[in-house]
Amino acid sequence: MSFEPVLLRRRGKPNSQSLESYRADGGYTALKKALAMEAPKVIEAVQKSGLRGRGGAGFSTGLKWTFLPKDVQGPIYLCINGDESEPGTFNNRVLLEDDPHQVLEGIVISGYATKSTTAYLYLRYEYGDCYRTCEKAIEEMYANNLLGKNILGSDYSLDIYLHRGACAYICGEETGLIESLEGKRAWPRIKPPFPAIEGAFRRPTVVNNIETMACVTQILDRGPEWFQSIGIASEHPKDPGSYGPKLYCISGHVNNPGLVELPLGVTARELIDKHAGGVWKGRKAKAVVPGGISMGFLSADELDTKLDFAGPGKAGCLGLGTAAVIVIDDQTSMVDVLYNTCRFFAHESCGQCTPCREGTAWSAKILARIRAGQGTLKDLDTLTDISNSIGIMPGTTICGLADGAAWPIKNALKKFRPEFEEYITSGRRSQSFEVVGSH
């Protein structure tokens, strides 16, 4: 049975961004349904669907909403995380550029469910086209009683404000985002308190991802049973399962890079061969990033790994992350690849926690030394040591950026160690080069 895309079903249609065309395709009926329900029933429907957040951590969306305190007096904030910056990831960009109303409808539904009074859509600065598309869509919503006071004649009122970032990866961490929204440096907060108790402006706050919002719209429209009928069922009582359609980004060394929507649980091999036209130039894959570079690497032997929430972990990766797959061909040096990931995290570490600030910088320097032909085998042990001692898991940092920096190192040195050893002992130097600048 072939799978029909839902989240991307309007992509490429003429004028797909306009309210008129969205409504002609049945848009905003999900919101009407939601407003006719009691707010807790909306949360129940989202919980029942099994929806797990699409931003990377995969936490149950409905459950997150229940963590808000009961009977709150005063404002509750909904922050929508559009700071999509994980290398390889561009699904939120496509959603906002091509079908902003699907996302905005989900924001109003989620706002209603959580009794939020204001929603801030934090959008990375780089997505200028998304900003302009959303700005126009929000204007249309205010003009049509889909935002503002008494939405569609109900008792519910909500404002959505766009808030632009300034090119910092760490703003995608939910408490970093909140600090940035508040006008401060985006230093993640120690948790608890979690945002549900004390978030933006010290008020109860929910932070959700863009694709998650599009899923909420579809769950209300088509029902939680529809969502549950797609994907991989829970394997044991403690596994929340991997339900629903998912947007997979495919980039790197494939013939047709792009975005595809598939049931959660497609294998990496199927994604590459069936949906991306195979590895380019008739080559083979050497390694595959399963979900953004912070998730680590699958080796060529692990391409039958299912890309659901549980699959990448079984192959030693950090997780599904953003389901952004980057394919690396067999002509590419893993030393160059690992240098690239280490340099990224050294650049993006916010500097608040010493183990992350220093550990990411050292690992990038060590890889640069190896690339210059001056590495030693002991460097590989030092890299392993660093990767085992930075992050939330070893308990040395406030947020997960360092775990994401550590994982590519761990996977590369475990799965490709002979290549690193050969590189060092043969005294090779990198064939690729780097332009150094002041940034």
């Binding site: 910056s85 960009r93 910092a168 929204l181 508040e182 006008g183 890079p257 940034h439």
Partner: protein
């Protein structure tokens, strides 16, 4: 160096009702300042601090966290061109693209061309990996780039 224009100040005041704290206006205000003057001058920092009832050092603290904002000694060229160097672009020639662009324009990343038309910057993942190698021109993404195309954009010919 002059500070914020009255028009820019009004733009910032207009945003005040959106947020429960004045400090939350810091990033929007810095964007407005840099859009107007191609940098954020020290006087602009003081002007923003006055508007938001904060110390100038608080504005500067936030400003300096983001590599995005330029001081008055390093104003941006007419166009700011970011070349992506993250993994998906690297795999499809991003490093070579950046090197060739810098060589042909006689700049290092972070510098502005002598004619003031373009500032070339290094970028981490721009979120357009489906069109690698990609660049960002001001806030508009350009996919599947060649050095010729980037140089044309930098010289204002495209």
């Amino acid at each position: 160096m002059s500070g914020l224009s009255e028009e820019a100040k009004q733009k910032i005041r207009d945003l005040l009702p959106r947020y429960p704290s004045k400090q939350a206006l810091t990033l929007p205000a810095l964007h407005i300042a840099q859009e107007e003057a191609r940098c954020v001058s020290r006087q602009a920092v003081h002007d923003i601090a006055d508007l938001l009832e904060l110390a100038p050092s608080q504005i500067h603290d936030t400003l300096s966290f983001y590599g995005f904002f330029k001081d008055e000694k390093h104003p941006l060229g007419d166009n700011r061109i970011w070349v992506c160097r993250s993994l998906a672009c690297m795999l499809r020639g991003g490093d070579e693209l950046l090197a060739e662009v810098c060589e042909r324009l006689h700049v290092a990343p972070g510098q502005t061309t002598a004619d003031g038309k373009a500032t070339i910057e290094l970028a981490e993942c721009l979120g357009a990996c489906d069109g690698a190698p990609c660049i960002l021109v001001n806030d508009k993404l350009q996919l599947r780039m060649t050095a010729d195309a980037v140089v044309s954009l930098a010289e204002g010919r495209a």
